[in-house]
């Protein structure tokens, strides 16, 4: 194939006319019609659930009547491979056109041509069972399209899939060969078409030819005519390092210092939500850290070796390993550049999943990317998916290059140890690894010659980055996206700064925003502060996303490499004239402005589900939908937290009020001053453990006459708590009741304090003071439900009443109620503190803000009205108390947190409760 170079160059200049691109050129070595060549063939495909794989399967079923496909699909823990094929491939809109064309025949004609075998490219022999091996043996062609395409995959995963994947497929083919000869005597060996990437050559300036690294290496010895990364790599060492790295990092992540760090982060996020939730979060943070470290390690390693990222790096090594170790297998390598939406087939603009350019374009259109790195005159090498599919089909039809090697495949080397599952980390026979040598260059003689095809546009029909940005800008200026208010979004003007500058700028602003956020998080804030915090978080997330894009994809917008397509064009020219029209993959056929404006952008805008009209979207907004779900008659139970969810007050308010209720002026002030002394101790206790705090605090009630407390609590509820209620909260409780839902109140408060709420709730789960002889003993009969105890209590309640937690709603305001919210199917964050609102946002929970009732008086502290004869009015005392440090602590993140703390003084109060004087008339 390499000898077709000159001819390829002859058609190098794009004429922008597909007709001309598909012009009739006398082919020197014509290949049969694709339909004929693939007639009756059986094709093994990996990665069929991917973007390219799906399109490939569709095209084969659509265009070659008698061709059969065998799909290797990884069974997931819950879904069988057959089910996955059905759901993830055949139900995709890729097949809409075919379904429409065939009608009922789709099921009777197309589907029987699809066979699914369970397997996994990360397992040796692809994890194929006997039947699977038999199916593989029956395949004439194997197309390996499975890959970890994310540029930021963890290095070990990229190694397993991208590096070792191709060789595992090849090894399976080798192992199946004897069976194949037995089943179909005289058959050709299975032709392996391995899908690689153009970027295995790197992104460095220069022309990259369709040659193997071995060849490039050989050339570099003389005058170097094309660019490709030829760094010597000890592949075994890379594999072993990557595998070991994970276990090393796993060990490192468990180091006490690290665990300490994760715990600190988790505690900051979750506060006193409970030990189990905290532990879960720590474990997740640890796993995330391992993953991120693996990603970072891959990035650094790849770049140190000359590749832009782990994806290109592992793909390149995979290619090297394949061609080096499997000379007995006929191999072709197809290297697409960045695959994007279809030009024409199955339908113009068809795309699956959001890939590289899409999120960037959409973020740009939404005005979120103010700047992006890139060289305006640089080439952004994208290729429509159908062209790649066509090229693969042509390669398949063309067949492998070279001759079967003299030696029988049986004498091929045994499975290299590195293809064994992970624990086998043996050394290889060749200590040097896979450095291509000049010797291997001539190996094609008397054996197969791996053919390489770039499927890229950069050399023949380049799309300049600046041009693309202009097209995108123009398009979104004419048909803008709309923001939530129905205002068109103005797209930013990019000035193409260097990558370093953009990244540095973004990093600075992220640091600044994060600092500001933690500052706001550390001071007690109310709703307005929380709004601000939410805005900051939003901005930081945006900046972080922009930075991720810049870091991940910046290399591709700054690519200087030009991928030559001589082999591809030669192949193209060898095709039958009709096939050239039907399977056109000449990059010159793309008219970029048309493709970008009429095909690609409309398609991704549709996929992104963004607002394209100023009017309200037809679909009901998310909040309305979740509200409907919450208030659906199917729900069974609605659980409410009390403090700061239904009422803006806390346990200390009630104690203060009750303790002062029957005291007079000077005594009240004495209580207030003693109170100040207790604040630090109680506050520290509360920070440590909410349950301990409440137990300690409730001890202050020791000696109080329970009947008097009950009586006073009623008055307290109506005169103080009701005035601090959230009317919307009460309305919601009533709404649930009217819908027939069971309503449950969960609170750390004491029973007599919440007793007046009884008519609203079917059940009140709260703390209960222990009473002996009509007096509070200081202990608790029922402990206060706090943190995770709430979820447990609720679960028990649900069980005994035959209720489904998954069909229940819970309302709470604080991260300390996380277990409660987690336990139900419909969590609602109400007046959420900063930490909870961050979590709710992440988890997509319904959030609501309930406004507190308008207060009719200026009273801010829980001071009961002064009884007759008092010398110090409640108002005055309130002012005095305002000056105490206790009030400074008044607004804390979590609910019901102690702010105005009372000293132990109830025994004194108890005597006041007993003493009731009635002056005679």
């Amino acid at each position: 194939m390499v000898n077709n170079r000159n001819q390829g160059h002859a058609s190098h200049t794009p004429e922008g006319d597909s007709h001309r691109a598909c012009r009739n050129v006398d082919s020197i070595d014509p290949i049969p019609r694709i339909a004929d060549a693939l007639h009756g063939k059986r094709i093994f495909i990996t990665g069929a659930t991917g973007f390219l794989g799906t399109a490939l399967v569709e095209r084969i079923l659509h265009s070659v009547d008698s061709c059969q496909v065998v799909l290797l699909i990884r069974p997931s823990s819950r879904t069988s491979p057959e089910r996955r094929a059905e759901r993830e491939i055949l139900k995709n809109d890729c097949f809409d056109e075919l379904r429409r064309e065939l009608g009922d025949r789709f099921a009777t004609e197309a589907l029987p041509r699809v066979t699914v075998v369970a397997g996994d490219v990360t397992h040796s022999n692809l994890g194929l069972d006997e039947h699977g091996m038999e199916m593989l043996a029956g395949c004439d062609i194997a197309i390996h399209s499975a890959a970890a395409v994310a540029f930021d995959s963890p290095i070990d995963m990229a190694v397993e899939i991208n590096l070792l994947g191709p060789t595992r497929v090849a090894q399976a083919i080798r192992d199946a060969a004897p069976l194949r000869r037995k089943l179909i005597p005289g058959s050709d060996p299975t032709h392996l078409i391995s899908i690689s990437t153009a970027y295995v050559a790197g992104t460095h300036q220069g022309e990259a030819a369709e040659i193997l690294a071995t060849e490039a290496m050989a050339r570099s010895a003389s005058s170097r005519t094309s660019t490709t990364v030829t760094t010597e790599v000890d592949i075994d060492a890379e594999i072993n390092t990557a595998r070991r790295l994970r276990s090393d990092l796993q060990t490192a992540s468990r180091h006490p210092d690290q665990l300490d760090r994760f715990t600190r982060v988790a505690r900051k996020e979750l506060g006193s939500a409970g030990p189990h939730l905290l532990a879960e979060r720590v474990e997740r943070l640890r796993e995330e850290w391992v993953k991120k470290s693996l990603v970072d390690a891959g990035k650094v390693r790849s770049q140190s070796m000359g590749w832009p990222d782990a994806y290109a790096f592992t793909k390149a090594l995979g290619e090297r390993l394949l061609v080096n170790d499997y000379r007995d297998i006929p191999i072709s390598i197809v290297r697409p550049s960045i695959i994007e939406s279809a030009l024409a087939r199955p339908t113009p603009g068809w795309i699956r999943g959001f890939r590289m350019a899409e999120p960037i374009i959409i973020s740009y259109a939404r005005g979120l990317l103010k700047e992006f790195p890139g060289i305006p005159e640089g080439i952004i090498d994208v290729i429509p998916v159908d062209m790649v599919v066509s090229a693969i089909m042509a390669v398949a039809a063309r067949g492998p290059q070279g001759m079967p090697p003299d030696s029988a495949p049986d004498s091929a080397p045994a499975t290299p140890p590195d293809l064994q599952p992970e624990p086998a980390l043996g050394g290889r026979q060749t200590s040097k690894g896979h450095m291509p040598t000049a010797k291997t260059e001539g190996a094609g003689i008397g054996g197969w010659t791996p053919a390489v095809y770039h499927v890229a546009t950069g050399s023949r029909n380049p799309l300049r980055y600046g041009e693309l940005v202009d097209l995108v800008k123009e398009w979104f200026s004419a048909t803008p996206l709309y923001d939530a208010d129905g205002q068109p979004i103005d797209v930013p003007e990019w000035s193409f700064p260097g990558r370093g500058r953009v990244q540095a700028q973004l990093k600075r602003s992220i640091k600044f925003l994060a600092g500001l956020e933690s500052l706001i998080g550390s001071i007690p804030v109310h709703s307005r502060g929380q709004e601000l915090a939410a805005q900051l978080e939003d901005q930081r997330t945006r900046a972080e996303r922009a930075l991720t894009y810049a870091e991940l994809y910046g290399a591709y917008t700054e690519t200087d490499a030009v991928f030559l397509v001589d082999n591809l064009l030669s192949l193209y020219n060898q095709m039958h004239e009709d096939d050239r029209r039907e399977y056109c993959f000449d990059p010159a056929a793309i008219r970029w402005s048309e493709y970008v404006r009429e095909i690609h952008l409309p398609s991704i805008v549709t996929h992104a589900r963004v607002r394209t009209t100023p009017s309200r979207p037809r679909s009901i907004p998310r909040s309305e939908r979740s509200m409907k779900a919450i208030l659906s008659p199917e729900r069974q139970m609605a659980v409410f937290d009390l403090e700061n969810t239904l009422i803006s007050a806390n346990v200390v308010d009630s104690y203060l009020w009750l303790a002062m209720r029957r005291q007079k002026g000077v005594d009240r002030l004495a209580v207030a001053s003693r109170l100040a002394l207790q604040i630090p101790r109680l506050w520290a206790l509360d920070r440590k453990d909410r349950g301990d705090f409440l137990r300690t605090f409730y001890r202050y009630y020791e000696g109080a006459r329970i009947e008097a407390l009950r009586e006073d609590a009623m008055e307290f509820f109506h005169s103080f708590l009701m005035a601090r209620s959230y009317p919307a909260g009460f309305a919601r409780v009533r709404k649930h009741r009217s819908l027939g839902h069971r309503t449950v109140l969960v609170t750390g408060s004491l029973d007599f304090l919440v007793e007046p709420l009884r008519p609203l709730f079917d059940e009140i789960l709260c703390a209960r003071l222990a009473v002996s002889g009509g007096q509070a003993s200081g202990g608790l009969e029922t402990p206060p439900p706090t943190g995770e105890a709430r979820a447990l209590l609720l679960a028990r309640y649900a069980r005994t009443h035959d209720l489904e937690l998954s069909e229940s709603v819970a309302y709470a305001d604080s991260v300390s109620d996380l277990s409660l919210l987690d336990a139900v199917g419909f969590p609602v964050a109400v007046n959420a503190d900063q930490r909870l609102s961050a979590l709710a946002k992440k988890r997509g929970w319904h959030t609501e803000t309930w406004k507190p009732a308008t207060r009719s008086t200026t009273q801010t502290l829980a001071i009961p009205p002064s009884l007759g004869g008092s010398q110090l009015s409640g108002r005055m005392l309130s002012r005095v108390l305002d000056m105490l440090p206790g009030e400074q602590l008044s607004t804390r993140g979590t609910s019901e947190q102690g702010n105005k703390v009372m000293p132990p003084g109830m025994s004194r109060t108890a005597s006041a409760v007993v003493h009731r004087s009635a002056p005679p008339l």
Partner: protein, 529 residues
């Protein structure tokens, strides 16, 4: 020399701007000359010189067929003294309250007679329970301290199944169910404050001590549209029903000794004297007081302003006390009320303007929510007429009030739901009744009414029924300066200025309409010829 009567001022170019109340504040507005008039209430009547002596005299010389109180008291009797609740008077009067004065005399007589079984009973009807402070203010510390700690000071509970008694049904099918203690006492003494002509008479017991089951017969849209107005008992279906019930109560053996008091209209203490005075008579001190106070009020927060106004105690004083048989007493009372409040007005007007103050009978020490705004304007002030309404049929009422979208959750819990649920559906008083039962029987509202300080669940419906006559009579209601969402929910039209409101009103009443402004409070009643 008797105080000056009310006055109707024809506005001309030289007329100074007139005072409009605006919730917790006030301002001056210029009315269009040559077609506007302002009605000023009569000046406060001279108070009784020796109220205690007058009370004693009334008790000793009862009206109608009643015996002097002394002769009705026996040591072994059950005596219940019911008294009007916190909704009267407005604003609360400076201590001593009229109720305290009367009740102290009653208790002394009772003590002299050796009566041991005495209960004081706040006649709440479906109003909220009074707080300790409010009870102390109405009765005085001495009475409170003597009764409350011993459980002898009660508040009527219209939802206490054991505390009510069904006395019978009137010939109109109205069930009469009242407080059991009151009905089964040997003597029920009712101490009233007759602020407006609607108060008092048989309504005191028949409504003040009744249950929802009983009250619903006259507190409804039908009754209110057939009361023209409910301030004029001779033309009020509300009163006819109460009188039927009152007579049934009497016939069923309940012995009522009615004590009614009237007050003068000295509504504001001396620092606010300008609120009582006609603008052209304002002294430099009044002017300074007006400007300084209105400036200060704009600088205050909502809560501080509300606290300030609700702390005002009116220097009102007694102008009459009459005791004895209900109907005879009330007839006499009304003459005193009218003497204080009646102003003769010639003919109706196209547009009636009013500035609504911070207080209505149902938001003492509380927030005047949008429903109460409607009730004060269209229920109370619109109905303060005898003969014909001040505004012609198809006319427009323009009220000024900030109408904040705010509710007192402790006092008016069902109002919030009424506003969000019922008014969102309909503002037609005839239509809202379909929701009434659900609100009236709601266990949560009942609990809040019985144990807290909440109005009965059904109360917002009554507020809206109170507006029924006006809503039927008027073509449009405009609120100046109100919260737009609140005003629209009430079914009214929001306007930002008086000029805009007048402009908008012309859509309904044509150009160059006549305008009448009632300069209240202090209260007045228009006799329209």
């Amino acid at each position: 020399m008797s105080p000056r009567p009310g006055y109707v001022l024809e506005v001309d170019r030289s007329t100074p701007p007139v005072l409009f109340w605006n919730g917790e504040g006030y301002l001056l507005e210029k009315l269009p000359p040559e077609r506007s008039r302002i009605i000023y209430p009569p000046d406060p009547l001279h108070p009784l010189e020796d109220p205690i002596a007058k009370i004693r005299h009334a008790l000793d010389h009862p009206m109608g067929d009643s015996q002097p109180l002394k002769t009705l008291l026996r040591s072994d009797m059950r005596l219940t003294i019911a008294f009007d609740d916190v909704s009267l008077p407005l604003p609360a009067m400076q201590a001593p309250d009229a109720r305290q004065l009367v009740i102290e005399q009653l208790l002394e007589l009772a003590a002299e007679a050796g009566v041991e079984d005495v209960i004081l009973l706040a006649a709440l009807s479906l109003h909220r329970r009074m707080t300790e402070m409010e009870l102390r203010h109405a009765l005085g510390n001495r009475v409170y301290n003597a009764f409350e700690p011993h459980g002898l000071l009660l508040q009527h509970d219209a939802e206490d199944p054991d505390g009510l008694i069904l006395l019978g049904t009137t010939d109109h099918g109205e069930e009469v169910e009242i407080n059991r203690r009151a009905a089964t006492s040997d003597l029920l003494v009712y101490v009233n404050i007759n602020l407006v002509p609607m108060d008092g008479g048989h309504k005191s017991v028949a409504t003040g001590l009744a249950s929802y089951r009983s009250v619903r017969h006259h507190h409804n849209a039908h009754t209110m549209t057939h009361s023209r107005s409910f301030m004029d008992m001779d033309h009020s279906e509300l009163h006819s029903a109460n009188w039927r019930m009152g007579r049934l109560i009497r016939e069923s053996g309940v012995k009522v000794f009615q004590i009614e008091t009237t007050l003068n209209t000295n509504a504001f203490p001396s620092q606010f004297s300008f609120l009582q005075r006609r603008e052209w008579e304002w002294t430099p001190r009044d002017r300074a007081g007006f400007f300084a106070s209105s400036k200060a009020l704009t600088l205050m927060g909502d809560r501080a302003r509300r606290a300030l106004f609700h702390s005002i105690k009116a220097p009102m004083q007694l102008t009459s006390v009459q005791a004895g048989e209900v109907e005879a007493v009330h007839e006499s009372t009304l003459t005193h009320v009218y003497r204080q409040q009646l102003v003769h007005v010639d003919g109706q007007t196209d547009i009636l303007t009013m500035g609504l103050p911070y207080i209505s009978p149902y938001n003492v020490n509380s927030i005047m929510n949008p429903i109460l705004v409607a009730c004060l304007g269209l229920g109370y002030l619109f109905n303060m007429y005898r003969g014909k309404p001040l505004v012609r049929e198809g006319g427009v009422v323009i009220m000024r009030h900030p109408t904040p979208l705010a509710f007192n959750t402790a006092h008016h819990p069902s109002y919030i739901d009424f506003f969000e649920e019922v008014l969102a559906d309909t503002t037609d008083p005839g239509q809202i009744s379909k929701y009434e039962e659900a609100y009236a029987n709601d266990p949560w509202y009942i609990q809040l009414y019985r144990t807290g300080h909440a109005y009965h669940g059904v109360h917002p419906f009554y507020m809206w029924y109170w507006c029924a006559h006006a809503l039927e009579h008027l073509s449009s209601v405009i609120v100046i300066g109100g919260d737009r969402r609140a005003v629209k929910r009430l079914g009214f039209r929001p306007a930002s200025t008086l000029d805009d409101a007048l402009e908008m009103a012309e859509d309904s009443v044509g150009s160059q309409p006549t305008i009448t402004h009632i300069r209240v409070p202090p209260l007045m009643m228009a006799e329209v010829s």
